[in-house]
């Protein structure tokens, strides 16, 4: 009887250890297999040239990623510029001003926004944002725009990363010791002064970490952006030009490219770029968040 229990326990332990190792290996396997799939093209052309050339003609063997990289950066930056102020203000409001009822009401709002699938955001974008840009906003600046633009991608993406930013920032604000804000308030500072001088200053690293994470999500977002950004290979010159981010490049061409030499390898390089960015950004934000945790642990 005892022996059976001990054997069961031991088997379970080994099984779990196996799974734990599998999880870590899984990450490494993804990274390595993307790398080896991308290797043929990196070997043939120099990596720097691939990343900085704007010449994309797969049938002639030209793979310049610059238009896609610039598109990705533009769209993500617009998204962050729109989402960041809205999220910071809302998180401060929820953390320091809102009553318990409002906070409780807002939780499902944030949950729902983060739960809505990308494809729904895409449908919403094509129905509302694209015509809005084409009919109302763009005519003030340029002669003609289809509406399927960098700006449309940025706006839709902004809405998608807002719930993410809010949920991380509320956590960060919450980690600030109550004594600090109480001390400030009891010295006669108003709530806003406390927010400005204590909360925002103390949570600055956390806000940077949140921004970095949101950026890495923005870089990789595929379907919604693909549906509203036009998908034309060019370096966009204004907000009202169509663009073609990296994930959209993979989504539109993968699976159909097997006949052109190096095409698959090029698309895998795109995936590898996204993977590398995520790993780097995550390491960075994890480091910052750990620093914060350590700083507040004993205070």
């Amino acid at each position: 009887m005892h022996r059976i229990r001990a054997i069961k326990d031991k088997t379970a332990r080994h099984f779990m250890l196996g799974i734990a190792i599998f999880t870590i290996l899984f990450l490494i396997v993804i990274g390595l297999s993307l790398f080896f799939k991308a290797l043929p093209i990196i070997k043939e052309k120099n990596l720097w040239e691939l990343l900085t050339s704007a010449n994309w003609k797969p049938s002639k063997g030209d793979f310049g990623f610059l238009p896609y990289i610039i598109s990705t950066i533009y769209v993500s930056l617009i998204a962050i510029l729109i989402a960041l102020p809205l999220s910071i203000l809302t998180s401060i409001y929820l953390n320091s001003y809102a009553s318990k009822n409002i906070r409780r009401f807002f939780e499902p709002v944030v949950d729902l926004l983060s739960g809505i699938p990308p494809v729904i955001y895409g449908v919403w974008g094509t129905l509302t944002i694209v015509p809005l840009i084409s009919n109302k906003i763009a005519p003030n600046f340029v002669e003609f725009s289809t509406g399927y633009t960098v700006l449309a991608g940025g706006i839709v993406l902004a809405v998608m990363i807002i719930p993410l930013l809010i949920s991380i920032m509320v956590e960060v604000f919450r980690s600030i010791p109550r004594e600090m804000t109480d001390a400030s308030l009891s010295m006669g500072a108003t709530k806003w002064q406390t927010v400005k001088k204590v909360i925002l200053r103390k949570s600055f690293p956390g806000m940077i970490a949140a921004t970095v994470l949101a950026l890495s999500r923005a870089f990789g977002e595929t379907m919604a952006v693909l549906m509203v950004c036009g998908n034309i290979t060019q370096i966009p010159h204004s907000f009202f030009d169509a663009c073609y981010p990296l994930p959209a490049l993979i989504a539109n061409n993968y699976g159909e490219m097997l006949s052109i030499p190096n095409y698959e390898s090029a698309l895998m390089l795109a995936a590898l770029l996204l993977f590398t960015i995520v790993v780097l950004f995550n390491g960075l934000s994890r480091f910052t968040l750990n620093q914060i945790e350590r700083r507040f642990q004993f205070s």
Binding site: A12, M16, A20, L34, D111, L112, I166, R217, M223, L274
Partner: protein, 279 residues
Amino acid sequence: MKNLEEKIFKIIMIGAAIIILGVLIYIIGTICYKGLPALTWDMITKLPGGGFYLGKEGGVLNAIVGSIYIVFGSLAISLIISVPLVMYINFYLPHNSLLSNVIRFSLDILFWIPSIVYGAFGFALMVYLGIKASLIGGIITVAMLIMPILMRSLDEVTRLLSRDLPDALLSLGATKYEMIKVLIRQLMPGLITAILLAIGRGIGDAATVLFTAGYTDNIPSSLTQPAATLPLSIFFQLGSPVEEVQNRAYASAIILTLIILALSFSARYFSSKFSKNKI
């Protein structure tokens, strides 16, 4: 002066919160406004008929069933992996040990990897294994996507669990394995919340199934047949120049949104139940 600043910023903050709430209402409102007229019983109960993509008879039952197959298949795979892993990190490994930190960090990265990268990796893996775009391909790839989600949310609730119960169980002479069997029951509401979240992400994601699951007008009858999915069905129908088909895309979007709403609210219900029962 300082009161004026106080007031101005309070108004700006409330404004920001209202904008965010407004956007949510705007999104759901737009989808409902466009989709409701086209939403019929046929949409949910019928397969696409002949000439469906030209605006003739039929529904998206193929995509609904395909999505459900894929999500539950991948859920099964990821549960088998994630539940033992979370138990291992929390109850077997010493608190804050190097291995548990490395695992948690890898999970973090896996969580943030974009779904399109999983899609591309999944496809490469399938080519390597010699599998064509099929139900099983979709299941494996979506499992990669939802596994980290499941683990992270389960890990969060497990960490909150009081250490008293495990200690009491161990002091009564239970082995760790027996202890976990009891603790799982304690964690059930949290596990269900995690599952609902994972289903929500899995059922709505298009980029993972784009190359791996394929698309078909029929309900797959074996693992090696291609399977349609709801997000892709919305995407393809929206790309059609025919107006009826586009309207059906909006109707399919409502179906997907309703599924997500239901999942989200039940997740909320279970997690509130969990916080009440916590020891």
